[in-house]
Symmetry: C2
Subunit: 699 residues, 2 copies
């Protein structure tokens, strides 16, 4: 309030001029309401009021002065270091402190609560009962029947021996069941991650030439992926998962599905001499060249069972909701039937490729297979990072969508930690990267699972199969595995979502299309990179050359809106009101905006002069700063230049509604003095003060 007192001498000129304000419509409106509501506020500041009443006769002028005081005398905003400290405290210290505190006070119950935090399933152990257990067993068995053939298929997609897929469906689900907080998610190998792993690792180790080295590399990558995931969870870097935007994921998944489908043609057609590359052109060329090696029996077996699985899934299960278990069992059924067919007809002697021997038994230890001294360790870590992010993106998307459906919240950071521990443990027990599978989680949900116990049931079932039934899979044709993978792919291609993205946001669609085409025509990593790159380029591009918009007054109100958004809005004669279409004014756009506003002002001035003669010439340019969250020194320099240029063209610059950091920085930079204190809380006040009185109270 010291500010207002300094201005007493000038304010006597200021009060009478205000009564002849140019816009009568907005005048009387607020005055009466104001004098009533001002009472408590005025009482609090009696001293100032008496001083004011001598100099400012109208309540309007008084109100405006009070408001200017609000905008000018803001408390100092927290600085960079305070912000960093608070953010560090919030994300790292206080969760830690909370845990330590409850540990210190009551060691008994605290231990329980800590255990509850680390092992969320403990918290619902009391509510668990026989009914729920029965449902979980049913869901787990359904899950296992789908999981066994899929795991074997994904292991071949990852270019590993079939048993590694089964191993990955045993240990990771068990670990997750202890640490994870989602109740529906089904853990195991998934198609996209398997493809990503094989396509990236085979650049360094050829799985056909040196399968042992390839497997060691794979396990090392799994270890790194788990370590990164656990680290993200511990360091609360959950937001990293968001860097793959929704649109990019849609495009990437669809592209990956196409690539996986193309890869499976090899097994389905029974051809040999297949390319190692994943892009569509190499694969199609390779297929055309090898068409003569096609095996008709393979094609017959593969395609007939593919049609069977697809028809149960997309026809029967949709028409008769209760038959969904048939769709889940179809893959296992196909495996059993096709194996029988091959065994009875001995089709393997006619060139139908079969799975042959699968090593059975428990997951063997693989600690000795991890390699941290090889020349490719850095590459393994890099691949681990990429795979960790992709796997987490899928798992968290799956987990969160089902959690929202059932009405509970999932802590992203805790989930990451669980995934990380699960993959680290996996890498020590011959598993490759596991994550939450979209298709199997949906089956689990439909089968009526209640808790992660269904995952345990599944894991135990897979374990039993590994122990006793692997020999039965000797005659399983490879083509049937391809059919099973192919039948899972349509779920990854979401055309309606792509259409929706196109409809709502063209730039998002660009990221989506880039990811899709990049995966399809170049490689999986390039597709990912393109999608992330475009998404971030969009953020930067938006900041570089933002547009400006003219504002007009909405009839019967003190609101000002974009004249294009609200065609009903009217211009104020003599004033140009502009707003920048950007959240911050910074080095990258300040000069551009300066030029744009100056050009707008000069154009408007010419138009006004032509239309209405000199009295409507633009004398005032009001910059509405309500959406500018921050400025930097470059932009303050640009504003100063704008002020000088406008002044030399007979116009004044006024600022309306600057935000906290903005007004604070403008004050520090002494900019408010330079523009004669023309900073106002609202546009209306700027118009009233500047178009009626040239002399403002000093600030």
């Amino acid at each position: 309030m010291a500010v207002a007192r300094e201005g007493e001498t000038e304010s006597s000129q200021f009060a009478p001029t205000l009564q002849t304000t140019t816009d009568p419509s907005s005048e009387g409106s607020n005055t009466k309401g104001f004098s009533q509501t001002l009472q408590p506020f005025a009482e609090r500041e009696k001293v100032q009021l008496s001083q004011f009443s001598q100099t400012l006769q109208t309540p309007m002028a008084y109100e405006n002065e009070i408001r200017r005081d609000w905008i000018l005398n803001v408390p100092e905003p927290p600085g960079l270091f305070t912000n960093l400290k608070t953010s560090f405290k919030k994300t790292v210290l206080s969760p830690l402190e909370n845990k330590l505190q409850c540990f210190g006070k009551q060691p008994g119950p605290a231990l329980v609560s800590i255990l509850n935090v680390i092992f969320p399933p403990l918290s619902w152990r009391k509510e668990y009962n026989v009914t729920k257990f029965k449902r979980d067993i049913l869901a787990g068995l359904t899950l296992a029947s789908l999981c066994i053939p899929q795991s074997i298929g994904y292991a071949t997609l990852a270019k590993l021996d079939p048993q590694y897929g089964l191993y990955t469906s045993v240990i990771p689900p068990l670990i997750y069941a202890m640490m994870g907080s989602s109740r529906e998610i089904a853990i195991g190998p998934v198609a996209v991650v398997s493809l990503l792993l094989s396509s990236m690792i085979q650049k360094f180790e050829d799985p056909t030439v040196n399968p042992i080295a390839y497997r060691k590399f794979m396990l090392t990558v799994t270890f790194f992926a788990g370590t990164f995931q656990a680290a993200f969870g511990l360091l609360r870097l959950g937001f990293l998962v968001d860097f793959l935007s929704h649109a990019a994921i849609v495009g990437f998944m669809a592209g990956a599905a196409c690539v996986i489908g193309l890869q499976q043609l090899k097994s389905l057609l029974g051809i040999s001499n297949f390319t190692n590359k994943t892009d569509i052109i190499s694969v199609l060329t390779s297929i055309c060249k090898s068409m003569h090696t096609l095996n008709p029996y393979s094609v017959m077996i593969g395609s007939s069972f593919l049609i069977f699985i697809l028809s149960t899934k997309y026809y029967l299960a949709r028409k008769y909701k209760k038959l969904f278990w048939l769709a889940s069992m179809a893959p296992l059924l196909s495996v059993v039937l096709s194996t029988l067919v091959v065994f009875l007809t001995r089709a393997d002697k006619h060139g139908v490729k079969i799975v042959k021997h699968i090593t059975g038994g428990l997951n063997p230890s693989s600690i000795h297979e991890l390699q941290f001294n090889s020349p490719h360790t850095a590459e393994a870590a890099k691949i681990g990072l990429i795979v960790a992010l992709v796997a987490l993106t899928e798992a968290i998307a799956v987990g969160r969508s089902f959690a929202t459906m059932k009405g509970y919240r999932l802590d992203g950071n805790k989930e990451m930690l669980a995934m990380g521990v699960m993959n680290i443990t996996g890498s020590l027990t011959s598993c490759y990267v596991a994550t939450g599978s979209f298709s199997r989680t949906a089956v689990n949900f439909s089968a009526g699972c209640e808790t992660v116990v269904s995952n345990i049931v599944m894991a135990v079932t897979v374990l039993i199969s590994l122990e006793f039934f692997t020999r039965l899979l000797y005659f399983t044709p490879v083509a049937i595995l391809a059919s099973i993978i192919l039948s899972a792919l349509p779920g990854l291609i979401n055309v309606s979502e792509a259409k929706y993205i196109w409809k709502v946001d063209k730039m998002d669609f660009l990221a989506c299309a880039a990811a899709f085409l990049g995966v399809l025509f170049v490689s999986v990593e390039i597709g990912l990179l393109l999608a992330v790159g475009i998404s971030f380029a969009k953020i930067i591009l938006n900041s570089i050359q933002p547009g400006t918009e003219k504002l007009g007054r909405l009839p019967g109100s003190d609101l000002f809106g974009d004249v294009k958004q609200y065609p009903i809005a009217t211009k104020t004669p003599g004033a140009l009101i502009v707003r920048v279409k950007s959240g911050s004014l910074c080095f990258a756009n300040a000069n551009f905006i300066r030029g744009r506003i100056l050009n707008l002002a000069l154009e408007e001035q010419d138009e006004g002069a032509i239309e209405n003669g000199d009295q409507d010439r633009v004398q005032l340019v009001i910059l509405d700063m309500s959406n500018l969250l921050n400025i930097d020194t470059s932009s303050i320099a640009a504003l100063e230049e704008l002020h000088n240029e406008l002044e030399s063209n007979g116009m004044q610059l006024a600022l309306a509604n600057p935000r906290w950091h903005v007004i604070h920085k403008l004050r520090l930079a002494n900019f408010l003095k330079k523009i004669g204190g023309r900073v106002f809380l609202t546009i209306r006040e700027a118009i009233e003060a500047c178009l009626t009185s040239k002399n403002l109270l000093p600030i």
Copy 2:
């Protein structure tokens, strides 16, 4: 208005409830003003009015409905392609069209106007007179006296023979004088660009081992730099210059000045065995190791004249403003005096290094020296690009600051074209990269220059010196050149500006410090890269984890402000009003913001319940979208999730004041229906409608 009509059945419940609104202070205030100003608008829409008056009794409710109609029925915003087309038209087509048009209509005057556009000096030829010419000659001669010794010095800094510096002060100023639009700028070699060139080129060609290949490389880089500059100008990419933020330039210039100063110690101390690296540690080690080769006569001559030049510049010229010419002449005077001293004492026989032979005469052609087939051509182009940007940044900063001072505008794109043509021509006539020099432009301005004629006078003077006086420089000691360069450095270190940056913006200071330290401790390019990288990282970081702020009502108004910025603001019981501190809601921040808002709402709900019992529990979360310029599909998904989560906790989500693109996308995504149409023009309306009536008119 069709929307309102559909809602008739529900709106009869709606009207009476509105009269019992929770916040009486804001009620009566706007109503009266509204009914007056609404008249013209109401007449335009008579049909709807009569329908309304049956169902909505109060003018308040009517007003609110009209306003909801404004926000809901916005015209479709221009799409991505329309925007691209408009932007292309504005920046490329219309300037071209304008030129073609005026050419087509009146060939005679049009030709003049085109010539005026290409050669701006033509436009002021009529106002030019003898008085101005006299002033320009004086300024040009002053400029030349400073330019000759500086050019020789900068040529040695660029590791070229001295005459190349002089060549660069002849052709480029002449070309600029024809095409440039600045009247004060002084063209020629500058310190920072010379350092940048030598430090980057000597990685590929060693100037001591193979000076001819080095020179060819330098000329090729100059050609590329010119080509890039001209291309930027023609393609209107002037904004690229802004990528070096003000803060980064301050840091970079200071770092470069320190590095140049360290480099000059070699000549000043007369030591040999000097390092090629530019970082402070290598240079200081090198100096310490070679201290025994120090030549006391060099040190004596160099430092005494350095003191002389600095004292005239910083003491005499500041104290007696009229003696500024002495400061400008001091370098030339030092050269003459020191040359005389060496000649008379034959100090060169005592180890004082001298310039020796300088090839005189006109600039020789260098077309045959440009190399486009060498293995380093791509590198030359890359260096050319960096140098082009740095040179333009300096020139445009210089030009613009003096233009603003004299009250005329400089077209950045035109300037770039002029600089480009000037450097291309330069590369063909044995010149290296020239640009506008800060120190010499200031001298030109103080000497009272009127137009670029002063540049022509300077160029002619340098040309005459080249033709006749180069032999006189045989005995000039190298130490004096070092003194001249050193004396120009303090102008590049702007401590007060760095302090200002620290005061106003800590993040800006980080970019400034990174540029400074990067140049000083690593290399010139790394410093530049760091500064640009930090500046852009800041833009991205701001978008990733933006804060949220609670809003409160400013007393006696319908304005809502950050409760921290305006401690006077009061909360509305039952409602939480939040705003995101970011200009866009996008994939990178939507989930983070969703979590933040949900946590805020839950906290607020608990607090409210504890303090005031259940009646003040938060039932409504209003998201003020006034500063969100854009959203994408990821963020719409996050908003939907937020809506679901809030609903399952007994709260409603309402949106206030969405911008054009935002409301359009929300509409396309069918989001408005999902949240029950709770979108309002202002926060006040959201509070009134949602806290008093649960049933809204359908949208």
